[in-house]
Amino acid sequence: MYLTLVFLPLFGSIAAGFFGFFIGSQGAGFITILCLGLTFLMSCFAFYEVAFAGSPCFLQIMPWFDSELFSFAWGFQFDSLTAVMLIVVTFISFLVHLYSTEYMSHDPHLPRFMSYLSLFTFFMLILVTADNFIQMFVGWEGVGLCSYLLINFWFTRIQANKAAIKAMFMNRIGDFGLALGIFCIFVTFGAVDYSTIFTLAPYFLSDTINFLNIDFNLLDLVGILLFIGAVGKSAQLGLHTWLPDAMEGPTPVSALIHAATMVTAGVFLIARCSPLYEYAPGALSVITIVGAMTAFFAASTGLLQNDMKKVIAYSTCSQLGYMIFACGLSNYHVGVFHLANHAFFKALLFLGAGCVIHAVGDEQDMRKLGGLSKIMPFTYGMMLIGSFSLMGFPFLTGFYSKDVILEVAYGKYSTSGHFAYVLGSLSAFLTAFYSVRLLYLTFLSKPNGYRVLILNAHEAPWRMALPLLILVIPSIFIGYLTKDMIIGLGTNFWQGSIYIQPKNFNIIDAEHIPQAAKLLPVCLSILGALTSFILYFYGSQSLFLFKTSPLGLKFYTFLNRKWFFDKIYNEIIGQFFLSAAYNLTYKQIDRGLIESLGPFGLTRLVSKIALSLKVLQTGFFYHYTLAMVFSLISFLAYFRFENSTFILLSDSKLWFLFVIALFFINTDFKSFKN
């Protein structure tokens, strides 16, 4: 069962991809949905067996690398962490498959689309079930490839092309760090499988490693290098720019890959490596700070985006920041809990946005929407629930994880903890603000769209509505239902798949932080929602005045242009490398220096020498006689003084002869030239 559940999506993908021509759109949809449904069912059994019944499962199928110590097998590991991820991935993926058959029903390439989706699910399952770093890397790069293909699904659009390249490229920068981290692990631990490394981690506590000629603490360095991988995949600050651009892909893709599953791989990686990170406090504080900054940065950028999907994308980015800094505060289980919760309500939001986009003829700009709550009340309701869950409205799913994250951040009583708490609470305010802004502009404001589009807008058909309806249940209840199981005190749910050092375990401290600090995030959320609603409902005039004032314009541009990250990357760093590639390496060195020292220069040199030697061929008998006499003298002299070679050069008589010979040669040349 365990192997089947991993490989079923691959079968579905092959069937839809290679035989889509024969089985047609419906057949492809049917097969992939069937495979995914079965996988989901098996995942549920696996979850029961592994997480509830407490019997983790380890499988090894065949050897893979086998060279010196670098030897390990294709192996699968199902423990509680994997089980949680399995449920999340297969559940969302199943719903998205179902949704896509309707959403993409007019697309002639539906089989290809379903094939990519299934292939993505397969790689994601490989990622979460791997029992060593290299196999995890297979899934890691595999989902990157599928993300590339899916962003680029409508391949005639230049924006989609650019976004796809950008996503893959940014991810490769992360992969670069991840690969170096794996090398680092291999060189020090002599193994790459999880069980060995995690068991050995405490013994390397004070080891140092020389990296780039600087001595680093080993575990800190490993932690940071792995985290660079997570930064790329989970779109943390610095390598985040691909995520909003990835919204060029079809909306189901955004829901599945760029909200619920793939982007959380970084969080999964950190949680998976918790036994390693627990002994790397330096790496943990870096993670906390980067995560908190991402949460705040993305939330502030999301404030003033006009593209509906980009708002949700930045919200994803911001929520990923929460998860990452929860992990950085040693509360990996809280991070994973938020990951699962977030997957449900964010998929709901994206699929809801998909319904809107589908209904109004692929219009995503919120300024051109509005008034849709009358036309599509069901979607509005769904989006409303999703948004409230995202804001952390009390007793909805998001509340249970997000609030705990902020509480443990305060309860850490460390600089990075407080940093994360402050930025996290501010982000909660901003999150509520942009969520309500999105809802207001899309659904509540006066209709701003084209008349035809608004008139033709329709409620989602059942294959699109059903996934929303299914997703709304976990978005409301799952936090309440599973809080005690997953992050409750003394729960035995994780069974060692997540390790937290006792001194870092602070969820009890989090219970005893000041009441004000506990209530602050919720209050800020509600305040943010209210502010947003009031500003947009009553004060849109003054908002417009503020936006057009000089200061407001700067503020607006700064946030709307995403803090100018893209500008810096594209116009300074990118241009620098591209111009260096052309001007320096290609033009000046390849076509310049090497060419003139090599073929071009040599041909010039040879022809020059040949030209000057040519004049020696005078045709006069006495020139040749002179040369003969001169050679004869040198030759004889050489043999005469064979045993003392240097005399040849030091004997003054010979020098005299030599000088005379030169004199003759010179005069001859002159006469010849005239």
């Binding site: 060279s67 010196e68 595999g142 990296f211 490398f577």
Partner: protein
């Protein structure tokens, strides 16, 4: 070939396969497989040379069958290879004497060990693939074309099989002649003269020093037999350094390493498709093979002395060529620069001096033989249809050639070392191995991952995605057909090889292990 096979009846097929099996048993039982591998293509070329020029299909089929049989027999090496031995296997001694002096008699040994095994198989495979790929696109001097390939195959196999320094040198240089002829005769533009001359002169320039080195070794050791030289070579460290440099000049030109790499893009651009495949697939491997076979075991101390030099040139090469590749406009030039980058990664692996790095470098060499060759073939496919290699004319090929797009995608991903493909195995082993020795080199070498992603993806997106380009309403590219069955069969063995090595590299790594262990042992003593 298809016509030949489809037109002949079933009994004939059975008969042919029966004969092949019989011959196989005979050759294995008398242990003549290596000389068979060298002589069979020569024999084939001899037969083809006598065929009349009009019988094109017959000539092509015959050449294809001959190279195919050679490939199958070379697989026998792999099957019968004893993994636990580090010494040479399938050894044959060939005596020869000079007719003018009946007293003089000397010999060469033929043998294969873990290091050369896969180079032999790669050679036979790629020649077969090349002959199949140029089935339709050679219009002039067809017979000579086939002869060139078969003779080249013999020479290349000789380089990898013959265990003699002087013979190695002779064959190493002799491979230039068919290549020179190939570029000059079947190349596309006027500039091919310059390219062929550059190829010849650059390689010759390096090799002259190697010849001097070999003669010096012969003077001191008294033999050019490889095994004797390895066993009894006692050079002072100064001698070692000079000799190492003389060999290095030759092999570094072949790999190619940084300052002497410019012959490669030039030669690739001007060569016909199959020529590029051979050039990237096998000729470059002569360099890395030379390092593994000669420089490492013969001059062990000098290797360590010169490691920083090799590392710095290789790392510079990776970054430099990757950057340069980003800004090329010619399809083939990009892949050519990519080749340089990947081969420089191989050099990093070789000079990491441990089992992982060395194993990785051989695997990466073989994998580069698959992937880079396939990419040149991919260029060949569109070149046959549209007769341009400039990227600016290409766009949106997926509209008219979806299967082609899929294969191109596969090899693009293999080129950027996506896990699950062969390049990943090679590259990862190399970098893991070199991380043990020098972290900075690994760090800089691994930037190739990022830059490789940049140019590969850009190239793929430009060519495959988007709309078909129009100019004043006219399409740049007329409607064409997707890859046909023959072309698919060209790619199939390469795809299989790439995936097989990617997900089950054990079968490739196991035969290497003993020989490489021996090599490491020789080095560190």
């Amino acid at each position: 070939m298809f016509k030949l096979f489809t037109s002949s009846n079933f009994i004939n097929k059975i008969l042919i396969s029966f004969l092949v099996v019989l011959a196989y048993n005979f050759i294995i039982s008398v242990n003549l497989i290596l000389s068979f591998l060298i002589l069979f293509p020569l024999f084939g070329s001899f037969v083809i040379a006598w065929l009349p020029n009009e019988q094109k299909t017959l000539m092509k089929s015959l050449a294809l069958i001959i190279s195919g049989i050679t490939f199958l027999f070379s697989l026998a090496l792999w099957v019968n290879f004893n993994k636990s031995l580090s010494k040479f296997q399938f050894i044959e001694t060939v005596h020869y004497w000079f007719p003018w002096d009946s007293n003089s008699s000397t010999y060469v040994l033929l043998g294969v060990d873990g290091i050369s095994l896969f180079f032999v198989i790669l050679t036979t495979l790629l020649i077969f693939v090349c002959l199949l790929s140029s089935w339709d696109n050679i219009h002039i001097h067809l017979k000579e074309y086939l002869l060139t390939f078969l003779i080249l195959e013999s020479l290349l196999l000789g380089v990898f099989i013959i265990l003699d320094l002087l013979m190695f040198y002779i064959l190493f240089e002799a491979t230039l002649i068919p290549m020179f002829i190939m570029i000059l005769t079947w190349g596309s533009r006027e500039r091919k003269i310059r390219a062929a001359t550059m190829l010849f002169l650059y390689t010759l320039f390096g090799s002259v020093f190697m010849l001097a080195g070999i003669i010096y070794i012969y003077w001191t050791v008294g033999s050019t037999d490889y095994q004797i030289v390895v066993a009894s070579a006692q050079f002072t460290s100064f001698e070692q350094r000079l000799l190492w440099l003389s060999f290095f000049l030759s092999f570094a030109t072949k790999v190619p390493m940084l300052p002497v790499h410019i012959w490669l893009p030039e030669a690739h651009v001007e060569a016909p498709t199959a020529g590029s495949v051979i050039l990237a697939g096998i000729l470059l491997k002569l360099g890395s093979y030379g390092f593994l076979r000669f420089s490492l075991p013969l001059f062990s101390e000098a290797n360590f002395y010169f490691t920083p030099l090799v590392y710095s040139i290789a790392v510079l090469g990776v970054i430099y060529t990757s950057l340069t590749a980003i800004r090329q406009t010619d399809f083939k030039r990009i892949i050519a620069y990519t080749s340089v980058a990947h081969m420089n990664i191989v050099m990093i692996g070789i000079y990491s001096f441990n089992l992982i790095g060395l194993g990785g470098s051989i695997l990466q060499s073989i994998s580069h033989g698959f992937v880079s060759s396939a990419l040149f073939l991919i260029i060949g496919v569109v070149y046959d249809r549209f007769h341009t290699r400039l990227i600016k004319y290409y766009s949106g090929l997926v509209h008219i050639m979806p299967l082609y797009a899929l294969i191109f995608l596969f090899f693009t991903m293999a080129n950027i070392a996506l896990p699950g493909t062969s390049s990943f195995v090679g590259e990862f082993l190399i970098l893991a191995g070199s991380f043990k020795e020098n972290t900075t080199v690994t760090f800089l070498g691994a930037t190739g991952m990022i830059l490789g992603g940049a140019y590969s993806l850009w190239l793929y997106n430009r060519v495959i995605y988007g709309n078909l380009k129009k100019d004043e309403g006219h399409l740049h590219l007329k409607y064409s057909y997707d890859i046909n069955r023959r072309e698919f069969y060209v790619f199939l063995p390469l795809i299989i090889g790439t995936i097989l090595m990617g997900i089950y590299p054990k079968i490739f790594l196991d035969p290497l292990e003993a020989s490489l262990l021996n090599l490491v042992f020789q080095l560190k003593n």
